[in-house]
Symmetry: C2
Amino acid sequence: MSAPSLRARVRSEMSQEIKDVARRHLATDGANLSLRAVARDLDIVASALYRYFPSRDALLTALIIDAYDALATAATEADAAVPRDDLRGRWLAVCRAVRTWALAHPAEYGLIYGAPVPGYAAPQDTVEPASKVILLLVDIVVDGLGRLQPLKASPLTTPLRADLRRLIEQRHSDLLEERLDRVLVAWTHLFGVLNFEVFGRLDEMIEARAENFDHHMALMADLTGLPR
Amino acid sequence: MSAPSLRARVRSEMSQEIKDVARRHLATDGANLSLRAVARDLDIVASALYRYFPSRDALLTALIIDAYDALATAATEADAAVPRDDLRGRWLAVCRAVRTWALAHPAEYGLIYGAPVPGYAAPQDTVEPASKVILLLVDIVVDGLGRLQPLKASPLTTPLRADLRRLIEQRHSDLLEERLDRVLVAWTHLFGVLNFEVFGRLDEMIEARAENFDHHMALMADLTGLPR
DNA sequence: CTGGAGTGAGAACAGTGTTCTCGAATAAGT
DNA sequence: ACTTATTCGAGAACACTGTTCTCACTCCAG
């Protein structure tokens, strides 16, 4: 669409460069990101950053959104690379992609799945990319309707069933509440294992991390009723 | 024993008071804890804090240790209040106690189960209280040996089995590798749900939080083979 | 060609963790 | 009981931080 106005182009390039440097600092300093240090690396004075991001929080928010997006595309691409009817293959591919990304970018993972800073309200821009992974898992199960294994009974209480019903109607898929429940269990577990692994809670306990992860996610596939 | 030397007593009282104030600040400011703000609340100058804690990190470490201890005793007491042979009752009591504590102290929970700051190595003092919850869960299962339900097959790879074997021998209990594996799955899941709930990832998804939690942990009890 | 917008530099302000020095108070040793 | 040593808090100082303002300079549009 017409001229991106050279100035606008170098501007977005500069924004990108700032985020890249900030990301690099994130990896070593964690969430205590120093604007002045970022500026130094860019041979720029700190106040100049404010032409691109109105505050430190805004920069962090941009990094958070980027992280969600990167994770989502990694998972989506992994899913797309597996034949549609290989449900377990897709399931494992998505889970492994999430893990691979998380291990490759621990600081950014911590930014989005660690403890949020109190008072920092996640902007609306983050909710859509944040829900991408669970939607992928749901899609896999939906694609398997008719071939899924029956679930061992585990009764849902009425209020919980209502929550599930609401979620199903929002996306107007036609899953049973029990089935969606299991997907949510699996989704919860996925990030439970990853938090433990990325945050170092498995150190000196489990050495066979990859095997452990695959095993956990296979159990979750069973629990969800994916056919073998 | 003997004389706690009045000076040592007021010293430990002061340390306690500092931690209390710091805890209060933690709840509102998150991990960016300001020493000077804490000092102000105590009508003390910031440098005076260094008589009690050699650095800000040291104060945070003390808070972390306290948090682990508080969580561990909450869980232990909950377990002790249920008849020994009511395995599922004990299981649910422990899980609920962890949840209750986490929801009552979200900032401290985030401190110990959120993303760790890079470069901050958890001191040795934290590993023992940190493993208390999983040990409680293991104990419940061990107390049920002979009454446990057989596990649906889900083969363990050799390296993973070796990890589990090593853990079993460290504590010289006589669990099967498969059984310990399920306890670890349940343990992982416990903190997976709690991270989601405490860090707000269930907002606008699940309203029936308590029911959801109980349901998840009951599923984990099933998966571990606790008799009904 | 000229006004206006976009950009970066620099100074300034309030806040931070940390170190050091210096009196005052308290405990310990003789 | 008197002196010596230790502990404590205050205060100043240093090197940082995020943020705001003002001031030049450059670029593009009318």
